[in-house]
């Protein structure tokens, strides 16, 4: 027997599990190194401020005087604050206006782009609004939707529709804000769906077509189920995002008219920076945080977001 054969037999005698765990540990270290920058950001900009907000929520603090410990007083006050629950209701309405339309429209655009238009220009145009900041989008739409001098009413006039108040009527303001938001986000949603569509094996469609399936049947039985992980991602992020609607409201309606767009984040902002009630605003933020976690868990559970139907 040669020395070399000896070596081989020695290596083979090393327990399989030990070799594996060493490899895994090494991979884990590399893995952690990869997420380290994001982890630092998460801790610095999310975890620590959240903990600090939880601490502030237990105090009465007007920013100018030292904070005073009040325990759970802010939370009990919040429970009885009709305006807070009104603002939660407005937020929920906004989410219900926003999400179905944005998701359906995003999916439609993605499928059309995938099946029909392969052009890069088309995709660039679709994503363009997303490249504009919410504040700029809000300002541009504020001008275009102005009842008297806005261009939108001029166009509507051309096709025989009378002037609309849009952002300045309590009946239309929330829908208008939702529409601005959809306009800005639908391209990004479409892009995510489009990327998801690329990962669906093409032979599934070929096989289905051989079996005589219609375009709609293929969409329902192949595209939609296999797109589910992307759909879950889109829904979770966009639902959480739209619960946090703020910048468009801040630019266009400031919660008005007659409080019709006072969504929860605007109410939190008013309390924090207009009424100098930092403790109370933090308590509301914590409650919103918990609600969003519950909503997200519910969505993950209902949509089985961690599983794919592929394979």
């Amino acid at each position: 027997m040669t020395a070399r054969a000896d070596l081989v037999s020695h290596r083979e005698s090393m327990p399989e599990s030990r070799r594996r765990s060493a490899l895994r540990r090494k991979e884990a270290i590399v893995g952690y190194l990869f997420i380290l920058p994001a982890l630092i950001g998460l801790i610095l900009f999310y975890v620590l401020p959240t903990l600090r907000a939880a601490q502030i929520s237990m105090t009465s603090w007007n920013l100018m005087r030292p904070a005073k410990w009040v325990g759970f007083e802010n939370y009990t006050k919040l429970w009885a604050d009709g305006q807070f629950w009104d603002s939660m209701w407005i937020t929920l309405l906004y989410v219900m206006y926003n999400i179905p339309v944005q998701t359906a429209l995003g999916l439609l655009i993605a499928v059309l782009a995938d099946r029909l238009a392969k052009s890069v220009t088309f995709r660039a145009v679709i994503i363009a609004p997303y490249l504009i900041s919410n504040v700029v989008a809000g300002l541009v739409w504020l001008l275009m939707l102005d009842p008297l001098i806005g261009v939108t009413n001029s166009f509507l006039g051309l096709i025989g529709i009378g002037p609309q108040a849009f952002l300045s009527s309590p009946d239309q303001s929330l829908v208008s804000v939702a529409a601005i938001s959809i306009w800005r986000h639908v391209g990004f949603t479409a892009l995510l769906f489009y990327a998801g569509l690329q990962s669906i094996p093409r032979d599934l469609y070929e096989a289905a077509r051989l079996d005589g399936a219609s375009e709609f049947a293929m969409f329902r039985l192949i595209t939609l189920p296999l797109l589910r992980p992307v759909l879950v991602f889109v829904l979770v992020t966009s639902v959480v995002g739209s619960f946090q609607i703020f910048d468009v409201i801040a630019v266009t309606t400031q919660g008005g008219p007659a409080d019709s767009t006072r969504a929860v984040l605007w109410y939190i902002y008013e309390n924090a920076f207009k009424f100098s009630r930092m403790g109370y605003a933090s308590a509301m933020s914590m409650v919103l945080f918990v609600i969003l976690i519950l909503v997200t868990l519910l969505q993950m559970r209902l949509l089985r977001g961690d599983q794919s139907d592929l394979g």
Partner: protein, 432 residues
């Protein structure tokens, strides 16, 4: 780059003189038009006080207060800043601004030259939280081109009257200046309110103070926001304010002589005037400069008089010293200089605002006159009899939120003014 490092190592680069005895005073303001004027004041001050340097920072109104509060928490707020009465209750209660009364007494600073009432706006319980720097009233701004087209002249508008029942000659004038798509005027038969091209009067969305929107009307009936400064009860349940606001609502919703609140949008009266959608608006004197640049055809007549005469809100800004300033003496010196004739005359000559010192007002009127602007409509109402102050009380921001929403509801026609305002008033008064 290497050369720089080498130079630094060998000490051949001239470093700024270390630790001079100079105090630097940070001064914040929000008005971009005024910043260059106060820069001139700063230059004059620095020439007289070489040991003090003034650094002026200008921040738009929207960011100004958030930035100021944040700076106060983090300990690097400006030593001196331009203050607004709406912020006075909070700032004085939290002792973030210095009480100037002892300093005024110690320095023997003469406050008798201020326009009457200005200093009082900044006082509470014997303390003084700011030295007045300017003042403002309102007047009726009229687009003279549209006035001529209606066959009227400024002289016809010099003595308008108003009452909440039929609106008096004020409403008649507004009607005459309103033109629909077919060229019919608001006082002519066949006027179509659904296709108005030019409104007789355009206004900003209503706010608590109502300075350029509604309070000049309500006050002309004898109504007051509060009985005295720092009161603990508001008077929004008074039938006179309900009647005044009811008139304003109907001017839009019934007569179509002014845009309804839905039509006004968020861009406000200035935009509507600039885009020829309005013939008249209420102009605050701080906007004279803006109008002279963007709509030079606008001229001014006094606001209409009601049963108690003409009334304008009288409001003024002041300079306050941050209690955390590390150079309070230099800051006080600068504040005194800002209120002195030396700086006030510079402000007067610039013709951007009316200076707080009464004897400088003529000078600023002349400065406006030299630019072809007659501002007598603003100065004529600047008397104690024809003005009323901004309601300064505790909970100003909460009250603003409650009343603004109630005013929205009134103007939207969602509920009778008397009911909506009485309910809001109860909400407001329960804060105290």
């Amino acid at each position: 780059m290497n050369r720089t490092i080498l130079a630094l190592l060998t000490g051949t680069v001239a470093l700024p003189a270390a630790a001079s005895a100079q105090d630097t005073i940070q001064y914040w303001m929000w008005d971009g038009q005024q910043a260059p004027v106060y820069q001139q004041c700063a230059a004059a001050f620095e020439a007289a006080n070489p040991e003090i340097k003034i650094e002026i920072t200008q921040n738009g109104w929207d960011q100004y207060w958030t930035a100021l509060t944040t700076a106060m928490i983090s300990g690097d707020a400006p030593d001196v800043f331009v203050n607004h009465v709406t912020r006075l209750p909070e700032m004085s209660a939290n002792e973030v601004i210095v009480d100037l009364a002892p300093l005024i007494e110690e320095a023997g600073y003469d406050t008798s030259g201020y326009m009457p009432g200005l200093l009082d706006n900044w006082s509470r319980d014997g303390a003084t939280y700011g030295l007045p720097k300017d003042w403002a009233t309102v007047a009726l701004g009229v687009d003279t081109e549209k006035l001529e087209a209606a066959g009227l002249s400024l002289a016809d508008l010099a003595d308008l009257n108003w009452n909440p029942e039929d609106g008096g000659t004020y409403q008649q004038t507004i009607a005459k200046l309103t033109v629909d798509a077919s060229g019919k005027r608001g006082d002519e038969a066949g006027f179509d309110g659904s296709s108005v091209e030019t409104f007789g009067l355009v206004l900003n969305p209503l706010s608590l103070g109502g300075e350029t929107e509604w309070s000049y009307l309500a006050a002309s009936t004898g109504w007051q926001f509060i009985a005295e400064p720092w009161a603990t009860a508001y008077n929004f349940d008074d039938p006179r304010v309900a009647a005044s606001l009811g008139w304003l609502r109907d001017l839009g919703r019934v007569h179509h002589f002014t845009p309804t609140v839905e039509q006004t949008g968020k861009l406000g009266a200035e935009t509507l005037m600039f885009s020829d959608k309005g013939a008249m608006t209420i102009v605050g004197s701080w906007l004279i400069g803006l109008y002279s640049q963007s709509k030079p055809t606008v001229a001014y007549v006094p606001v209409p008089s009601g049963s108690e005469g003409r009334k304008s809100m009288f409001n003024g800004l002041a300079d306050s010293i941050w209690s955390g300033s590390d150079a309070p003496e230099a800051a006080w010196k600068w504040v005194q200089f800002l209120g002195s004739d030396d700086c006030q005359s510079i402000v007067a000559d610039a013709g951007v605002v009316f200076p707080a010192q009464a004897d400088q007002v003529e000078r600023s009127v002349a400065a406006y006159q030299a630019r072809g602007i007659d501002v007598s409509a603003f100065t004529a109402v600047a008397t104690p009899e024809t003005t009323f102050p901004f309601p300064v009380t505790d909970y100003g921001n909460e009250i603003d939120a409650i009343i603004s929403a109630a005013l929205d509801r009134v103007m939207l026609g969602a509920g009778e003014p008397a009911e909506v305002l009485t309910e809001a008033n109860e909400q407001v008064n329960s804060l105290f």
